[in-house]
Symmetry: C2
Subunit: 335 residues, 2 copies
């Protein structure tokens, strides 16, 4: 098998990061760790679609402010979301005037953005000091009416369904040496788990996370226990059991140090989120509110982080196509 | 202004490329230069959406075959399209099993993909010999029914409307030295031309192309006349006049060597394409059938290539939002 892990020649560092959330996110276990919460979910806007764009803008503004940076100091911005043609990202972020690269990786876009940005910065690092940002957003109400029904309809959801997070995460990376760095990246493969039920995305995404983790473990020669945490994106409760089971079948036990962003963002006992959180903003906000702060405080030193995405559209689901999964991975280390 | 042009430390070379088209493309001036044409526009599939994915698959297969390569020899695949959530790319290309990075740049995705792939290969070039691919597709019938009406409806279009190409382009780049290389890249900024008419995308995209070209000329210190051609993506007839006029106002005359893919793909006298071609497959197929062959034959030696994208969705247009433009640029040189 061809080498899929990339060891970055100049691992970029986290310069700053921020997370923005809505009502449900504020009431979750990570609520106090968000930089900004709006319990109305509206963020001052007149449509859910605009609200999502605004969340990305606020998140990047917080990340810039925390590091006393201006947008002109960033040389590139990678961003994406779940709205058709990713209009939340373009509409929300155009006012920064930062050279822009639009991504689509469904709920895996947070890791896809950090992975792409890392390679971008590493390529230039020997010649100059550069910084860039990665931003991802999702909004529950925008996603519900685009993919399912407007929330006013009150459609019932099966227990395997996930709750699209109203959340955004913004990350600024720089080529200058810092404490917490992305040292390795491993792009995801599109994996067909032969699932066509859009209310069971955990099952559609778990095989992709298994593929990436197996490849990573084989090619790096490392054991799961050598990491403080192996953090998957939004597999939720259903996808998490599937992931752990499928990996056990391959002789790999991640149960001791596996965390899933879909399970961390909400308290499934207390909150009506069915199988857990999802959406581009889910893993982004969990990374910014929980994982990176732990790395900054040196409570963790070595983390594998892989967001998971379900590649589908309303048309593809209505036409009975399979929902493909993808799971890009980054290794984040504290030095 | 911050430096936006990136001089790649290890400029990657074009290893292979291919283009696939439908009926209208086959009847256009570049028809004989396509690797594969299907006058039924169906490509053996049961839906237009599947047909688009299949076009991407066929294009990449041709590009692999021409260079006697297997998919396993490619370490990364950048791809994107216009279908909601880019399902044409994921559904059409998953079977190759190549690590995948999904992009969304509307009709600018061809250049966005080549730009991202170039940086990706350059970062790794000093350590190993690597290859990757960039693929983009669009299908007229899939786009019409998603963005406007199903073609059976027979909706009338104003003269400023463009014709989404039924076309795909696939490009394989490698880090090993070759004759035709991408030496510089310049990502696009999101530009708001304050257009909200989805049947006038040329006007929405022209200001973005002007922004990129002005930045490039200023930062590189080069004059337009120093290039054999300055090739824009799908501005079409309306956008081309606007671009040339806006650049003239800034004292830059590109009329001698400016080409536009939207004008090259179809013969607007003979074909009913209104303002010209558009869609992710338009600039991709013109690059593969016309520009790169000219570079290979040494008829051109130095080309600026910038696809243009209109960032919008049906929702954003219905909600009266502006259609933003973006125009990433690559410089292609023959050595």
């Amino acid at each position: 098998m061809r080498q899929r892990i990339r060891y970055l020649s100049s691992p970029p560092s986290f310069v700053s990061f921020a997370a923005v959330g809505g009502r449900e996110e504020g009431q979750g276990p990570l609520g106090p760790c968000f930089d900004h919460l709006d319990p109305s979910d509206r963020f001052g806007q007149t449509s859910w679609e605009r609200a999502e764009g605004e969340m990305g803008r606020i998140a990047l503004n917080f990340a810039l402010k925390k590091a006393s940076l201006s947008p002109q100091q960033l040389s590139v911005l990678f961003a994406g979301d779940l709205q058709n043609q990713c209009v939340a990202s373009s509409g929300g972020l155009y006012s920064f005037g930062i050279p822009y690269i639009g991504l689509y990786g469904a709920c895996s876009t947070c890791t896809e953005g950090l992975l792409s940005l890392s390679v971008w910065l590493s390529e230039q690092a020997d010649r100059q000091d550069v910084m860039g940002a990665a931003v991802t957003t999702s909004h529950n109400c925008a996603a519900e009416r685009q993919f399912r029904q407007p929330i006013e309809y009150g459609g019932q959801r099966p227990p395997s369904a996930q709750w699209t997070a109203t959340a955004a995460g913004a990350f600024i990376l720089g080529s200058r040496e810092g404490d917490v760095r992305i040292t390795e990246v491993c792009p995801g493969k599109i994996v067909d788990g032969e699932i066509s039920d859009a209310t069971n995305m955990g099952a559609a995404m778990a095989p992709a996370a298994v593929d990436t983790l197996l490849t990573y473990m084989q090619q790096s020669g490392r054991a799961p226990s050598s990491f403080d945490a192996i953090v998957t994106g939004d597999l939720g409760a259903v996808g998490t059991s599937l992931l752990q089971e499928m990996l056990l079948e391959e002789g790999i036990d991640v149960r001791q140090n596996h965390l899933d962003c879909g399970n961390l963002l909400f308290d499934s006992e207390r909150q009506d989120v069915h199988s857990g959180g999802s959406g581009c903003g889910c893993s982004a906000s969990v990374l910014a509110t929980h994982i990176l702060p732990a790395l900054m405080r040196a409570e963790m030193k070595d983390v594998l982080f892989l967001s998971t995405g379900a590649l589908m559209s309303t048309s593809s689901v209505q036409q009975g196509e399979h929902i493909f999964g993808i799971a890009p991975l980054i290794r984040i280390q504290r030095f």
